[in-house]
């Protein structure tokens, strides 16, 4: 947005009703590609962390939540770039009508709340399409909109478990209770959401028809594990936990370099790569010609790991990387998400980090975008995440043509606002309603 160059989705207005990752990251990517994404929030229930976090709480600039913690929460600000924020109390008639007015001027509505949330607001697809017949409307619950789990709660880590991915990751010599929790499936659902919405837009351009999209987060991730499900059926061998190793190639691993917690990943897949590695390491025990066969290398993997670790332990990880890449060996430094990422010469040359200036949280080097279009001519616009209700007036006045009086009334009646109500971070509007009573 705000770019002179027309981006792929510049003509599109999308309404986002989402929190945590799957929906917000979907909206983030739509915004990166030029769509006007309006995040529908409310002061009755916020998804921006606690209203009164303890002083020194992590996740805020300088560990200071400040007077408006909801506008300074780092996770929220990181993945809600390139959006507008409108607060509406959808439990009121006026709030609901405003949303419907907005729908009549929008192309896309998407929601990653539980399946029944929209229905309970009176905003099911059937109801919304009466306002805008060609609307593209997507629900993206964990397990899809039907079936025995349709109403189940889920999160990224739950999808990771139920799809079999959790079963296969981890150290082979430890059991699953030492596994981390991985929320990667949320991000997969987000990109699948973008894919589904974009293809529905192509279809609408061709036929004039809108769409109801039922997207399952679990099924989205399962398409990334397809060969594993096939292996199971095609052979009798069952895949077990591999750690960083591979059953057919050796050596494969992550090896310690000089310094504190510095590592390099090395993957040998061919005999040529093995021969090059032998030459670089120049250790007598590797000269054994039996090791030229991958079967022998697999049997002696522990010994090979020891020799490689001894070699890497005295080397700077980037020096090791340069040596290995020069020898055409697949290798990569283990970079962290802090200093290493920001210092990475490659990410920097490709302008991966963009400085944004957030009105409440200050300067921040934002990550992304993950898509580069030639037609953008190298221009990347990252607007900071919106403050709560930041665009209320603009949207109600300019877009919906409401009078100043109406907007004032909305503010007085707490249909819109920029400050969350007490309790709105603790499970929603029902609690607020109780407090009002």
């Amino acid at each position: 947005m705000n770019s002179e160059v027309s981006q792929p989705l510049s003509s599109i207005r999308a309404l986002e009703l989402s929190e945590i990752w799957a929906g917000p990251f979907c909206g983030c990517l739509l915004g990166d590609m030029g769509a006007e994404v309006i995040k529908i929030e409310s002061i009755q229930r916020i998804g921006r962390g606690p209203i009164n976090p303890p002083a020194n709480a992590g996740g805020y600039p300088n560990a200071d939540p400040g007077k408006e913690p909801w506008n300074r929460q780092s996770n929220f600000n990181a993945i809600n770039r390139n959006k507008k924020s409108l607060t509406l109390d959808l439990k009121t008639r006026q709030g609901l009508n405003s949303f419907k007015d907005l729908v009549s001027q929008s192309d896309v509505v998407f929601c990653n709340y539980s399946r029944t949330v929209m229905e309970n607001f009176g905003l099911s697809y059937e109801q919304v399409r009466k306002i805008k017949p060609d609307i593209i409307y997507m629900l993206m619950p964990g397990y899809g909109n039907d079936g025995p789990y349709a109403n189940y709660r889920s999160m990224g880590m739950a999808i990771d478990a139920i799809t079999g991915h959790s079963f296969l990751r981890g150290y082979p010599d430890r059991d699953h209770s030492s596994n981390s929790l991985v929320h990667h499936p949320d991000a997969v659902a987000a990109i699948n959401g973008v894919m589904a919405l974009a293809s529905a837009l192509v279809y609408r351009a061709k036929t004039g028809k809108g769409q109801f999209i039922d997207l399952s987060q679990a099924e989205s991730f399962m398409t990334h594990l397809g060969e594993i499900y096939l292996e199971n059926q095609m052979t009798s061998s069952i895949r077990t936990r591999r750690g960083n190793r591979h059953p057919d190639f050796a050596p494969q691993g992550v090896y310690k370099c000089s310094g504190d917690d510095n590592w390099i990943a090395i993957s040998i897949k061919t005999d040529e790569e093995w021969s090059e590695l032998k030459t670089i390491i120049a250790d007598d025990t590797l000269e054994d010609t039996d090791l030229d066969s991958v079967e022998t290398r697999l049997q002696n993997h522990d010994h090979l790991d020891n020799v490689i670790n001894e070699w890497t332990s005295t080397l700077d990880r980037y020096d090791a990387l340069a040596l290995l890449q020069a020898a055409n060996i697949s290798s990569g430094v283990v970079i962290d998400c802090g200093a290493d990422s920001y210092a990475d010469p490659h990410l920097n040359e490709r302008d991966f980090f963009q400085i944004v200036d957030h009105p409440a949280a200050g300067l921040y080097p934002m990550s992304g975008p993950i898509f580069k279009f030639e037609s953008d001519q190298g221009r990347i616009t990252h607007n900071p995440a919106p403050c709560l209700g930041q665009d209320n007036e603009h949207i109600l006045e300019e877009l919906l043509g409401y009078s100043r009086d109406t907007i004032n009334k909305f503010e007085t009646e707490e249909i819109v606002g920029t400050v969350p109500l007490p309790g709105s971070d603790m499970g929603g509007s029902r609690r607020v309603a109780k407090q009002r009573e």
Binding site: S6, P8, S11, M33, G59, N62, N75, I79, Y125, R153, M157, A158, D160, I162, G164, F167, S178, S180, H183, A187, I191, M195, A198, S199, L201, Y203, A205, I213, E219, M222, G226, E227, I228, Y229, L230, M234, R241, D248, V254, D261, W263, I264, S267, S330, S331, G332, V334, I335, D336, C337, G338, L347, E349, G368, P369, I370, F371, F373, S375, M426
Partner: protein, 406 residues
């Protein structure tokens, strides 16, 4: 007549690595006609050893999954005549998906800047490990080494051990899927402007720009702290009912839990039938529950111990605590939810085997998608595609075959 959302779009799939191949496959799920161009010897992934020795069909499980529903043609691209056939196909297609080393296609006159002269509306999607520019653009890679360079690996595993990769080929799948989404956005813009585009997708950037990694950058920016590997019962944001966070052994396997903060304590206490603990001064606030974490973890583990995954799954749903059983891969396609949705489809393969394959993760009200088809045999569709797209005659095709061009 059902009409796929992207029907009538022709995708030329030049991939020989996973990410680009999955990008083309995803476009196919939404209705594109995907023509896979292989060398005469076949896509190297047909023999990829992620397959197993016991597999009789010849093609690897990875290839069968990535290429389900595609058409296969073979062209010898070392021969100038082969290159000109590919150029002719690029002229009539809507999307090209490729994964050559940056600069390689320029040498044979088939790069975007050369193709767009004859096909200005083509969407040209290049997917490479590190993108088209920058010092790492020619780096040798595979899933393990690329995953290390995204920031995702550093945080995985235990503090006193080496960092860990995910299982599967996660980074490459993620980037291929993201590339398909961006390609479709470019197709949408094309419906309005008629203009094509060139997408430069870096697998490293897709994973480095992923919410997991984005979220982990703020502790460094705001406090100068890295975000190191941690013990499983802790979470990055500090105590969130840590005694019940992570993966626990149960009666018939393992179960993962993630309570969302202190407000879940009553839900948990009720779920494990220990509401008495709520009045216990050892446990009545977040800090005390963190201090007495080991006791509480033992109590929680005792509740988990004698229950099956299914019993716990029912209990967490009733209590509103996020959690899920860890299924083994062979259990997944028998799961009642995925069966009820018809997600896995039975697909007949040429060797006589019927395989349960993953289907569409989406349902469209107006644009049903067709059923999943088996991956093509090598060159299965060469004649058909050349007749249809290039209007070659049978005689012309026969001559090309005799000359080992196709």
């Amino acid at each position: 007549m059902p009409y796929g959302a992207l029907e009538e779009i022709i995708v030329l799939d030049l991939s020989d690595r996973l990410a680009a191949s999955f990008c083309a496959k995803t476009l196919g799920l939404y209705g594109c006609e995907v023509v896979k161009v292989e060398p005469l010897s076949g896509d190297p992934l047909r023999k990829w050893t992620n397959s197993n020795p016991g597999n009789q069909s010849g093609d690897s499980p990875l290839f069968l999954h990535l290429n389900a529903g595609k058409k296969s043609i073979t062209i010898n691209l070392d021969d100038p005549k082969g290159q000109s056939i590919l150029a002719a196909l690029m002229k009539v297609c809507d999307v090209v998906v490729e994964t050559q080393k940056p600069g390689h296609l320029d040498k044979i006159g088939l790069a975007y800047n050369q193709i767009k002269k004859s096909n200005p509306s083509v969407i040209f999607t290049s997917i490479t490990p590190y993108g088209q520019t920058g010092p790492y653009k020619n780096f040798h890679y595979d899933e393990l080494t690329l995953f290390a360079m995204t920031g995702a690996m550093y945080r995985e595993g235990l503090p006193d051990r080496e960092p860990l990769r995910y299982s599967g080929e996660i980074a490459q799948y993620f980037a291929g899927n993201a590339a398909a989404a961006a390609t479709t956005a470019a197709l949408f813009k094309r419906t309005l402007t008629g203009h094509g585009d060139w997408l430069d997708i870096s697998i490293q950037e897709c994973m480095a720009g992923h919410p997991h990694q984005i979220g982990r950058r703020s502790p460094f920016i705001y406090a100068g702290e890295p975000d190191p590997r941690s013990q499983p019962r802790t979470s990055a944001s500090g105590a969130r009912e840590p005694y019940a966070v992570g993966t626990f052994r149960c009666k018939d396997g393992y179960f993962s839990f993630l309570p969302l903060g202190p407000r879940m304590w009553p839900n948990i206490a009720k779920m494990i039938n220990r509401e008495d603990l709520m009045a216990d001064p050892k446990y009545n606030d977040t800090i005390k529950r963190s201090e007495n974490r080991e006791n509480l973890e033992a109590i929680f583990q005792a509740w988990v111990d004698d229950k099956t995954r299914e019993e716990i799954f029912q209990a967490v749903q009733a209590a509103g605590v996020p959690g899920s059983p860890i299924l083994q891969p062979e259990e997944v396609h028998k799961n009642e939810q995925f069966q009820a949705r018809g997600f896995f489809q039975n697909v007949d393969h040429p060797n006589g085997q019927t395989l349960r394959m993953t289907g569409d993760p989406f349902r469209f009200s107006n644009a049903p998608t067709s059923s999943i088809k088996a991956a093509p045999k090598l060159s299965q569709n060469t004649n058909e595609v050349l007749r249809k797209l290039l209007e070659l005659s049978d005689d012309q095709i026969e001559i090309l075959a005799m000359e080992n061009i196709i």
